[in-house]
Protein backbone atom coordinates (compact mmCIF):
# COMPACT_ATOMS: atom_id res chain seq x y z
CA UNK A 1 0.00 0.00 0.00
CA UNK A 2 1.39 3.40 -0.95
CA UNK A 3 2.34 5.74 1.88
CA UNK A 4 -0.64 7.84 2.79
CA UNK A 5 -3.33 5.40 1.56
CA UNK A 6 -3.75 3.96 5.03
CA UNK A 7 -4.08 7.52 6.36
CA UNK A 8 -6.72 8.29 3.73
CA UNK A 9 -9.04 5.63 5.12
CA UNK A 10 -8.21 6.85 8.64
CA UNK A 11 -9.47 10.33 7.65
CA UNK A 12 -12.84 8.94 6.60
CA UNK A 13 -13.04 6.74 9.69
CA UNK A 14 -12.64 9.71 12.04
CA UNK A 15 -16.00 10.39 13.77
CA UNK A 16 -15.62 14.14 13.14
CA UNK A 17 -15.69 13.59 9.37
CA UNK A 18 -19.08 11.85 9.56
CA UNK A 19 -20.56 15.09 10.87
CA UNK A 20 -19.42 17.29 7.98
CA UNK A 21 -19.89 17.45 4.22
CA UNK A 22 -16.35 16.57 3.12
CA UNK A 23 -17.56 14.44 0.20
CA UNK A 24 -20.07 17.10 -0.81
CA UNK A 25 -17.36 19.72 -1.49
CA UNK A 26 -17.96 21.35 -4.88
CA UNK A 27 -14.65 23.22 -4.95
CA UNK A 28 -16.32 26.62 -5.01
CA UNK A 29 -13.40 28.18 -3.13
CA UNK A 30 -15.46 30.17 -0.67
CA UNK A 31 -13.26 28.73 2.11
CA UNK A 32 -10.03 29.92 0.52
CA UNK A 33 -11.56 33.29 -0.34
CA UNK A 34 -12.49 33.77 3.33
CA UNK A 35 -9.31 32.41 4.88
CA UNK A 36 -7.03 34.65 7.01
CA UNK A 37 -4.21 32.07 6.77
CA UNK A 38 -4.31 32.35 2.95
CA UNK A 39 -3.83 36.12 3.41
CA UNK A 40 -0.63 35.41 5.36
CA UNK A 41 0.62 32.30 3.52
CA UNK A 42 -0.40 32.62 -0.13
CA UNK A 43 0.48 28.97 -0.87
CA UNK A 44 -2.11 27.77 1.66
CA UNK A 45 -5.59 26.98 0.38
CA UNK A 46 -8.25 25.03 2.29
CA UNK A 47 -10.00 24.30 -1.03
CA UNK A 48 -6.84 22.60 -2.36
CA UNK A 49 -6.36 20.61 0.84
CA UNK A 50 -9.90 19.24 0.52
CA UNK A 51 -9.26 18.45 -3.17
CA UNK A 52 -6.05 16.55 -2.33
CA UNK A 53 -7.99 14.35 0.11
CA UNK A 54 -10.87 13.72 -2.28
CA UNK A 55 -8.40 12.72 -4.97
CA UNK A 56 -6.51 10.50 -2.53
CA UNK A 57 -3.21 12.38 -2.32
CA UNK A 58 -2.40 12.22 1.38
CA UNK A 59 1.35 11.88 1.34
CA UNK A 60 2.45 15.46 0.72
CA UNK A 61 -0.31 16.82 2.93
CA UNK A 62 0.79 14.88 6.01
CA UNK A 63 4.50 15.46 5.43
CA UNK A 64 4.26 19.11 4.48
CA UNK A 65 3.84 22.39 6.34
CA UNK A 66 0.56 23.47 4.75
CA UNK A 67 -1.78 21.71 7.19
CA UNK A 68 -0.05 23.66 9.97
CA UNK A 69 -0.81 27.06 8.37
CA UNK A 70 -4.51 27.13 9.33
CA UNK A 71 -5.29 29.45 12.27
CA UNK A 72 -8.48 27.53 13.24
CA UNK A 73 -10.81 30.52 12.98
CA UNK A 74 -13.57 28.40 11.37
CA UNK A 75 -14.64 31.04 8.87
CA UNK A 76 -14.52 28.24 6.24
CA UNK A 77 -16.76 26.09 8.45
CA UNK A 78 -19.24 28.96 8.87
CA UNK A 79 -19.39 29.89 5.19
CA UNK A 80 -19.22 26.53 3.37
CA UNK A 81 -22.44 26.16 1.36
CA UNK A 82 -22.15 22.34 1.52
CA UNK A 83 -21.68 21.95 5.26
CA UNK A 84 -18.04 21.01 4.91
CA UNK A 85 -15.54 22.13 7.51
CA UNK A 86 -11.98 22.41 6.19
CA UNK A 87 -10.86 23.57 9.67
CA UNK A 88 -12.10 20.27 11.14
CA UNK A 89 -10.53 18.26 8.31
CA UNK A 90 -7.22 19.96 9.06
CA UNK A 91 -7.41 18.93 12.73
CA UNK A 92 -7.90 15.32 11.64
CA UNK A 93 -4.87 15.62 9.32
CA UNK A 94 -2.69 17.21 12.01
CA UNK A 95 -3.46 14.37 14.40
CA UNK A 96 -2.55 11.78 11.74
CA UNK A 97 0.66 13.66 10.86
CA UNK A 98 1.76 13.49 14.49
CA UNK A 99 0.73 9.88 15.03
CA UNK A 100 2.54 8.70 11.88
CA UNK A 101 5.67 10.66 12.70
CA UNK A 102 5.42 13.17 9.84
CA UNK A 103 5.09 16.35 11.89
CA UNK A 104 8.10 18.64 12.14
CA UNK A 105 10.31 18.73 15.23
CA UNK A 106 8.93 22.17 16.11
CA UNK A 107 5.39 20.80 16.20
CA UNK A 108 6.50 17.77 18.22
CA UNK A 109 8.20 20.13 20.64
CA UNK A 110 5.01 22.10 21.38
CA UNK A 111 3.02 18.86 21.56
CA UNK A 112 5.47 17.66 24.20
CA UNK A 113 5.54 21.00 26.09
CA UNK A 114 1.75 21.36 26.29
CA UNK A 115 1.40 17.61 26.84
CA UNK A 116 3.68 17.76 29.86
CA UNK A 117 1.74 20.72 31.29
CA UNK A 118 -1.56 18.89 30.85
CA UNK A 119 -0.25 15.58 32.17
CA UNK A 120 1.45 17.05 35.24
CA UNK A 121 -0.73 20.06 36.11
CA UNK A 122 -4.03 19.72 34.22
CA UNK A 123 -3.61 22.97 32.28
CA UNK A 124 -2.44 23.70 28.74
CA UNK A 125 -0.27 26.58 29.92
CA UNK A 126 1.53 27.18 33.13
CA UNK A 127 3.36 30.23 34.43
CA UNK A 128 4.98 30.48 37.87
CA UNK A 129 2.28 30.89 40.51
CA UNK A 130 -0.61 30.17 38.13
CA UNK A 131 -3.51 27.86 38.84
CA UNK A 132 -2.88 24.13 38.60
CA UNK A 133 -4.76 21.04 39.74
CA UNK A 134 -4.35 19.61 43.28
CA UNK A 135 -2.23 16.41 43.37
CA UNK A 136 -5.19 14.02 43.89
CA UNK A 137 -7.01 15.57 40.94
CA UNK A 138 -3.93 15.15 38.72
CA UNK A 139 -3.95 11.40 39.44
CA UNK A 140 -7.65 11.27 38.55
CA UNK A 141 -7.07 13.32 35.40
CA UNK A 142 -4.25 11.01 34.31
CA UNK A 143 -6.69 8.10 34.48
CA UNK A 144 -9.02 9.98 32.12
CA UNK A 145 -6.09 10.84 29.85
CA UNK A 146 -5.05 7.17 29.72
CA UNK A 147 -8.62 6.23 28.82
CA UNK A 148 -8.31 8.70 25.97
CA UNK A 149 -5.02 6.98 24.95
CA UNK A 150 -3.06 10.16 25.56
CA UNK A 151 -0.11 8.33 27.13
CA UNK A 152 0.29 6.16 24.04
CA UNK A 153 -0.08 9.23 21.80
CA UNK A 154 2.76 10.96 23.66
CA UNK A 155 4.87 7.83 23.38
CA UNK A 156 4.26 7.62 19.63
CA UNK A 157 5.45 11.18 19.12
CA UNK A 158 8.53 10.44 21.19
CA UNK A 159 7.63 12.71 24.11
CA UNK A 160 9.63 11.93 27.22
CA UNK A 161 7.61 12.74 30.32
CA UNK A 162 10.07 11.24 32.81
Amino acid sequence: MAIGQESLSEVFEDPRIEEIGLRRCLQCGRCTGSCPATYVFSEFSPRTIVLEILEGRMDDLLKGDLIWACGQCYTCHLRCPRGNSPATVILVLRELALIHGYATDKVKEIAERCGRSMWERGVNFYEEGARELPVEAVADLQEALKKGEYDSFLKRIGADLS
Binding site: P36, C73, H77, L91, R94, V107, M118, N124, E127, L133
Partner: protein, 277 residues
Protein backbone atom coordinates in the same frame (compact mmCIF):
# COMPACT_ATOMS: atom_id res chain seq x y z
CA UNK B 1 -29.98 28.47 31.38
CA UNK B 2 -30.26 26.70 34.72
CA UNK B 3 -31.48 28.56 37.80
CA UNK B 4 -29.33 26.23 39.89
CA UNK B 5 -25.66 27.00 40.37
CA UNK B 6 -23.45 27.15 37.28
CA UNK B 7 -20.25 25.14 36.96
CA UNK B 8 -17.70 27.90 36.41
CA UNK B 9 -15.23 26.69 33.81
CA UNK B 10 -11.81 28.29 34.15
CA UNK B 11 -9.55 29.20 31.24
CA UNK B 12 -5.93 28.06 31.01
CA UNK B 13 -4.87 31.23 29.11
CA UNK B 14 -6.37 33.50 31.78
CA UNK B 15 -5.00 31.31 34.56
CA UNK B 16 -1.47 31.59 33.18
CA UNK B 17 -1.36 35.16 31.83
CA UNK B 18 -4.21 37.18 33.38
CA UNK B 19 -5.11 35.38 36.62
CA UNK B 20 -6.99 38.39 38.03
CA UNK B 21 -9.15 38.65 34.91
CA UNK B 22 -10.18 35.09 35.66
CA UNK B 23 -11.47 36.35 39.04
CA UNK B 24 -13.70 38.91 37.32
CA UNK B 25 -16.47 36.53 36.33
CA UNK B 26 -16.67 35.50 40.01
CA UNK B 27 -16.77 39.18 41.07
CA UNK B 28 -19.64 39.87 38.64
CA UNK B 29 -21.58 36.76 39.70
CA UNK B 30 -21.06 37.53 43.41
CA UNK B 31 -22.37 41.09 43.02
CA UNK B 32 -25.42 39.87 41.13
CA UNK B 33 -26.10 36.96 43.47
CA UNK B 34 -25.64 34.42 40.65
CA UNK B 35 -24.74 31.05 42.12
CA UNK B 36 -21.77 29.11 40.78
CA UNK B 37 -19.39 26.34 41.76
CA UNK B 38 -15.69 27.04 41.43
CA UNK B 39 -14.08 23.60 41.29
CA UNK B 40 -10.31 23.35 41.89
CA UNK B 41 -10.38 19.86 40.30
CA UNK B 42 -11.56 21.08 36.88
CA UNK B 43 -8.86 20.57 34.26
CA UNK B 44 -8.24 22.52 31.09
CA UNK B 45 -10.64 21.50 28.32
CA UNK B 46 -7.46 21.09 26.20
CA UNK B 47 -9.09 23.38 23.62
CA UNK B 48 -5.97 25.40 22.88
CA UNK B 49 -3.92 22.24 22.37
CA UNK B 50 -6.76 20.53 20.51
CA UNK B 51 -7.11 23.38 18.02
CA UNK B 52 -3.33 23.55 17.69
CA UNK B 53 -3.61 20.00 16.39
CA UNK B 54 -1.30 18.65 19.08
CA UNK B 55 -3.95 17.06 21.22
CA UNK B 56 -5.91 14.02 19.98
CA UNK B 57 -9.68 14.10 19.74
CA UNK B 58 -10.13 10.94 21.78
CA UNK B 59 -8.16 12.37 24.71
CA UNK B 60 -10.16 15.61 24.48
CA UNK B 61 -13.36 13.58 24.78
CA UNK B 62 -12.16 11.70 27.87
CA UNK B 63 -10.74 14.75 29.65
CA UNK B 64 -14.05 16.54 29.28
CA UNK B 65 -16.12 13.49 30.12
CA UNK B 66 -14.32 13.82 33.46
CA UNK B 67 -15.07 17.57 33.64
CA UNK B 68 -18.77 16.94 32.87
CA UNK B 69 -18.86 14.33 35.58
CA UNK B 70 -17.33 16.79 38.09
CA UNK B 71 -19.98 19.35 37.13
CA UNK B 72 -22.76 16.84 37.63
CA UNK B 73 -21.33 15.69 40.98
CA UNK B 74 -21.48 19.35 42.05
CA UNK B 75 -25.18 19.38 41.19
CA UNK B 76 -24.78 21.67 38.16
CA UNK B 77 -26.86 21.24 34.98
CA UNK B 78 -24.81 23.70 33.00
CA UNK B 79 -21.28 24.93 32.50
CA UNK B 80 -20.36 28.59 32.05
CA UNK B 81 -16.99 29.28 30.44
CA UNK B 82 -14.97 32.49 30.42
CA UNK B 83 -13.33 31.44 27.14
CA UNK B 84 -14.77 31.07 23.63
CA UNK B 85 -12.56 28.06 22.84
CA UNK B 86 -13.65 26.25 26.01
CA UNK B 87 -17.24 27.04 24.98
CA UNK B 88 -16.81 25.43 21.53
CA UNK B 89 -14.66 22.53 22.72
CA UNK B 90 -17.12 21.57 25.46
CA UNK B 91 -20.05 21.85 23.03
CA UNK B 92 -18.28 19.61 20.51
CA UNK B 93 -17.53 17.02 23.21
CA UNK B 94 -21.08 17.22 24.58
CA UNK B 95 -22.47 16.45 21.12
CA UNK B 96 -20.14 13.51 20.55
CA UNK B 97 -20.80 12.04 23.98
CA UNK B 98 -24.55 12.72 23.73
CA UNK B 99 -24.32 14.41 27.13
CA UNK B 100 -27.28 16.44 28.38
CA UNK B 101 -25.19 19.09 30.15
CA UNK B 102 -25.67 22.59 28.75
CA UNK B 103 -22.79 24.88 27.85
CA UNK B 104 -22.92 28.66 27.97
CA UNK B 105 -20.39 31.42 27.60
CA UNK B 106 -19.94 33.93 30.45
CA UNK B 107 -21.08 36.70 28.14
CA UNK B 108 -24.42 34.90 27.68
CA UNK B 109 -24.95 35.19 31.45
CA UNK B 110 -23.89 38.85 31.53
CA UNK B 111 -26.12 39.64 28.54
CA UNK B 112 -29.10 37.94 30.18
CA UNK B 113 -28.51 40.00 33.34
CA UNK B 114 -27.62 43.28 31.64
CA UNK B 115 -30.61 45.20 33.01
CA UNK B 116 -29.78 44.13 36.56
CA UNK B 117 -26.14 45.08 35.98
CA UNK B 118 -27.19 48.51 34.73
CA UNK B 119 -29.11 49.07 37.98
CA UNK B 120 -25.99 48.30 40.04
CA UNK B 121 -23.34 50.20 38.08
CA UNK B 122 -20.95 52.30 40.12
CA UNK B 123 -19.43 53.75 36.95
CA UNK B 124 -20.74 54.12 33.45
CA UNK B 125 -19.12 53.98 30.04
CA UNK B 126 -20.84 57.24 29.11
CA UNK B 127 -18.65 59.01 26.53
CA UNK B 128 -16.48 55.91 25.90
CA UNK B 129 -16.28 54.81 22.25
CA UNK B 130 -15.43 51.17 21.78
CA UNK B 131 -15.19 48.40 19.22
CA UNK B 132 -16.09 44.79 19.94
CA UNK B 133 -14.47 41.56 18.82
CA UNK B 134 -16.44 38.34 19.30
CA UNK B 135 -14.47 35.11 19.57
CA UNK B 136 -14.45 33.05 16.36
CA UNK B 137 -15.01 29.93 18.46
CA UNK B 138 -18.17 31.50 19.86
CA UNK B 139 -19.71 32.79 16.64
CA UNK B 140 -18.40 30.56 13.85
CA UNK B 141 -18.30 26.96 15.11
CA UNK B 142 -21.77 26.55 16.66
CA UNK B 143 -23.13 29.37 14.53
CA UNK B 144 -26.73 28.19 14.84
CA UNK B 145 -26.49 28.95 18.57
CA UNK B 146 -25.73 32.64 18.01
CA UNK B 147 -28.93 34.21 19.31
CA UNK B 148 -27.96 37.89 19.49
CA UNK B 149 -27.21 39.34 16.06
CA UNK B 150 -26.07 36.89 13.36
CA UNK B 151 -23.03 34.59 13.09
CA UNK B 152 -21.37 36.97 10.61
CA UNK B 153 -22.34 39.92 12.80
CA UNK B 154 -22.79 38.88 16.43
CA UNK B 155 -24.17 41.63 18.68
CA UNK B 156 -23.82 40.09 22.12
CA UNK B 157 -20.92 42.28 23.27
CA UNK B 158 -22.39 45.30 21.45
CA UNK B 159 -25.61 45.01 23.42
CA UNK B 160 -23.72 44.48 26.68
CA UNK B 161 -21.51 47.52 25.96
CA UNK B 162 -24.49 49.69 25.02
CA UNK B 163 -26.27 48.75 28.25
CA UNK B 164 -23.12 49.79 30.14
CA UNK B 165 -23.39 53.23 28.50
CA UNK B 166 -20.77 52.96 25.74
CA UNK B 167 -20.99 54.10 22.15
CA UNK B 168 -20.24 51.04 19.97
CA UNK B 169 -18.43 51.67 16.69
CA UNK B 170 -18.54 49.55 13.53
CA UNK B 171 -15.31 48.75 11.68
CA UNK B 172 -14.52 46.96 8.46
CA UNK B 173 -12.63 43.90 9.75
CA UNK B 174 -15.15 43.11 12.46
CA UNK B 175 -15.44 39.44 11.47
CA UNK B 176 -11.69 38.81 11.11
CA UNK B 177 -9.87 36.48 13.51
CA UNK B 178 -7.78 38.30 16.18
CA UNK B 179 -4.65 36.53 14.95
CA UNK B 180 -4.07 34.13 17.84
CA UNK B 181 -4.18 31.09 15.56
CA UNK B 182 -3.47 28.52 18.31
CA UNK B 183 -0.38 26.71 17.02
CA UNK B 184 0.77 30.05 15.56
CA UNK B 185 0.88 31.69 18.99
CA UNK B 186 2.90 28.73 20.27
CA UNK B 187 5.38 28.71 17.38
CA UNK B 188 6.52 31.31 14.85
CA UNK B 189 3.85 34.03 15.31
CA UNK B 190 3.97 35.34 11.72
CA UNK B 191 0.23 34.69 11.38
CA UNK B 192 -0.43 36.41 14.75
CA UNK B 193 1.41 39.56 13.73
CA UNK B 194 -0.03 39.86 10.20
CA UNK B 195 -3.63 39.22 11.23
CA UNK B 196 -3.47 41.29 14.44
CA UNK B 197 -2.00 44.15 12.39
CA UNK B 198 -4.83 43.97 9.84
CA UNK B 199 -7.42 43.79 12.64
CA UNK B 200 -5.91 46.59 14.76
CA UNK B 201 -5.39 48.83 11.72
CA UNK B 202 -9.08 48.52 10.85
CA UNK B 203 -10.06 49.24 14.46
CA UNK B 204 -7.71 52.22 14.73
CA UNK B 205 -9.43 53.92 11.77
CA UNK B 206 -12.57 54.51 13.86
CA UNK B 207 -10.53 55.85 16.82
CA UNK B 208 -11.88 53.66 19.64
CA UNK B 209 -11.03 54.26 23.31
CA UNK B 210 -11.28 50.54 23.99
CA UNK B 211 -11.39 47.11 22.33
CA UNK B 212 -13.88 44.84 24.09
CA UNK B 213 -13.13 41.13 23.61
CA UNK B 214 -14.87 37.89 24.24
CA UNK B 215 -12.10 35.41 24.74
CA UNK B 216 -8.81 35.10 26.67
CA UNK B 217 -6.91 34.27 23.47
CA UNK B 218 -8.18 37.41 21.73
CA UNK B 219 -7.31 39.47 24.82
CA UNK B 220 -3.78 38.09 24.86
CA UNK B 221 -3.24 38.57 21.11
CA UNK B 222 -4.67 42.06 20.68
CA UNK B 223 -3.06 43.24 23.94
CA UNK B 224 0.38 41.62 23.62
CA UNK B 225 1.11 42.24 19.93
CA UNK B 226 0.43 46.00 19.87
CA UNK B 227 3.86 46.94 21.25
CA UNK B 228 5.61 44.32 19.07
CA UNK B 229 3.89 45.65 15.94
CA UNK B 230 4.76 49.21 16.90
CA UNK B 231 8.41 48.23 17.23
CA UNK B 232 8.45 46.35 13.92
CA UNK B 233 6.30 48.65 11.76
CA UNK B 234 6.59 52.01 13.53
CA UNK B 235 2.80 52.30 13.64
CA UNK B 236 1.45 53.16 17.06
CA UNK B 237 -1.78 51.56 18.30
CA UNK B 238 -1.93 51.91 22.12
CA UNK B 239 -5.60 50.92 22.25
CA UNK B 240 -6.62 49.36 25.60
CA UNK B 241 -8.08 45.84 25.33
CA UNK B 242 -10.40 44.43 27.96
CA UNK B 243 -12.19 41.12 28.50
CA UNK B 244 -15.98 41.43 28.94
CA UNK B 245 -15.92 40.10 32.52
CA UNK B 246 -13.09 42.43 33.47
CA UNK B 247 -14.90 45.52 32.17
CA UNK B 248 -18.17 44.54 33.82
CA UNK B 249 -16.42 43.91 37.18
CA UNK B 250 -14.72 47.31 36.96
CA UNK B 251 -18.00 49.10 36.34
CA UNK B 252 -19.60 47.24 39.24
CA UNK B 253 -16.97 48.78 41.51
CA UNK B 254 -13.98 46.39 41.45
CA UNK B 255 -10.64 48.15 41.82
CA UNK B 256 -7.86 48.15 39.17
CA UNK B 257 -5.90 45.77 41.44
CA UNK B 258 -8.86 43.42 41.74
CA UNK B 259 -9.28 43.19 37.96
CA UNK B 260 -5.53 42.82 37.41
CA UNK B 261 -5.02 45.94 35.31
CA UNK B 262 -1.24 45.65 35.76
CA UNK B 263 -1.12 42.39 33.75
CA UNK B 264 -2.02 44.21 30.53
CA UNK B 265 0.80 44.81 28.06
CA UNK B 266 -1.04 47.77 26.51
CA UNK B 267 -1.76 50.06 29.46
CA UNK B 268 -5.39 50.47 30.51
CA UNK B 269 -4.71 52.84 33.47
CA UNK B 270 -5.76 56.06 31.76
CA UNK B 271 -8.99 54.58 30.53
CA UNK B 272 -9.73 53.32 34.06
CA UNK B 273 -9.02 56.78 35.51
CA UNK B 274 -11.39 58.27 32.97
CA UNK B 275 -14.13 55.74 33.72
CA UNK B 276 -13.70 56.10 37.49
CA UNK B 277 -13.77 59.89 37.15
Amino acid sequence: MSEKRHYLFKSCVLGAYYPKVEECLRIVFDRLGIRYFDDPNQSSCTGHGYHSGIYPFKSTLEVNRRNFSLARDAGCDDIVTSCATSYATLKEVKNFLGDSIEVFHGSDVIHKNRDRIRGRLEHSLEGVRLVTHHGCHYAKIFYKDVKVGAPEHPMLLDEIAASLGAEVLEYKERGLCCGMGFRHLLLDQEYCKKIAERKLTSMKKVKPDLILVHCPGCLLTLDYFQAILEKETGVEFKIPVMHYAELTALLLGASPTEIGAAAHHTKIDRLIERIKG
